[in-house]
């Protein structure tokens, strides 16, 4: 009876990770990893860019992350359960765990600190209203600079929340913290940024 329940549970697990078809395809034929790569490149690159502050370093981090992920794909273990809900993706959490460690290694190795992506904001194209555009760019830079000044874990949590639009649960999985701890990290980070932005004149 118990064995039957376990088997039923496993059958349910099979369809929970929304990336399961792509992961299974990549396990059958590693060249099919391209599907996962295309799906998550922008997210991983973006995360690395906000953490490292330069396109060059972000490219380096993205490259290492995906090469590591492909090489270790056989060791990926899906852990989504029925309680995780329809469309859960543990692959994304796993991938970002790799990205988080790659980024940390790059930061340690190069001794660099995150910088405000002013150069990126300055290359934005769009509005014709130059005055308004310059103001917007400067403010965007200021908002990011305030985030960049945060302690590592708070900054990381805010990037995953605001840039990657991840749920608290996903961030908890990536950072290896409880959901409650992540909520506190985000709250404190947001409070510090509010103070920082409120105390500065643009």
């Amino acid at each position: 009876m118990k064995a039957e329940e376990d088997r039923r549970e496993e059958r349910r697990l099979v369809h929970l990770d929304r990336d399961r078809p792509l992961v299974e395809a990549a396990l059958r034929n590693p060249e099919a990893f391209d599907g996962l790569y295309r799906k998550y490149l922008a997210q991983v690159y973006s995360y690395a860019y906000y953490e490292l502050g330069s396109h060059h370093d972000a490219e380096d981090a993205a490259e290492r992350t995906f090469m590591l992920a492909l090489g270790a794909l056989t060791r990926f273990e899906e852990r989504a359960r029925p309680v995780d809900g329809e469309g859960a993706s543990t692959f994304r959490v796993w991938l970002f765990q790799i990205a988080r460690n790659v980024v940390a290694n790059i930061r340690r190795g190069r001794g660099r600190h995150p910088v405000a992506p002013i150069e990126a904001a300055a290359e934005m194209t769009g509005p014709v209203d130059i005055e308004a555009e310059v103001g917007e760019r400067y403010e965007a830079g200021a908002a990011w600079a305030a985030v960049a000044r945060l302690p590592e874990e708070r900054r990381r949590a805010l990037i995953l929340r605001f840039v990657e639009e991840m749920s608290t649960a996903e961030i908890a999985g990536i950072l290896g913290r409880s959901e409650g701890a992540v909520r506190v990290l985000i709250h404190r980070g947001l409070r510090a940024v509010a103070r920082d932005l409120g105390g500065r004149r643009w």
């Binding site: 790569y37 959490v93 996903e170 506190v184």
Partner: protein, 180 residues
Amino acid sequence: MRERAREEPEIEALRVDRYLESILVARDRGARLALLDTRLDPALRSTADRLSAELIRVHPSFRFEERLARRLADLAIGLRLPAVAGGEGGLPRSLTPAGGPAFEPGVAPGELLDPAQPIDDGEPFGGHARPILIGGALTSAAVSLAGAAFVAWRLSRPVHPMVRAIRAVHGRPGHEGGLA
């Protein structure tokens, strides 16, 4: 009293979390308004709104994307060869949760992925038209369509008469420097 003071930040953290969720939900539905919780500190709310609007996603350049895709394809071929030689094909493991220990990319034992965590949306662009930066240039989420359109435009461009003339000269019989 002391107990209440200790709980206060946690309650506010929960309110912030709920507000951030509502921002995402509102955006997914194409709405502008998020949950209005009057108990939430206005400074926190406006900072959340501002970060949500200004911390935009950044996309790498097409050149980098394709270069890394080629490197991954090369690695994939290398990974496939041993399996093909062994008659298996593909990577040697299924995804069943009963498999071996999970890969931990340099994560300490206490930092393991908690299977109890509910995970949601894995869409690369979150299903909404949020602006992103491609190698520093602001664009929409339809990056692949833009790339395809550019290639199609290049292919459909009429060849300049001077280019045709050069090709004709280089393509003449006996000319050693003929263009491919």
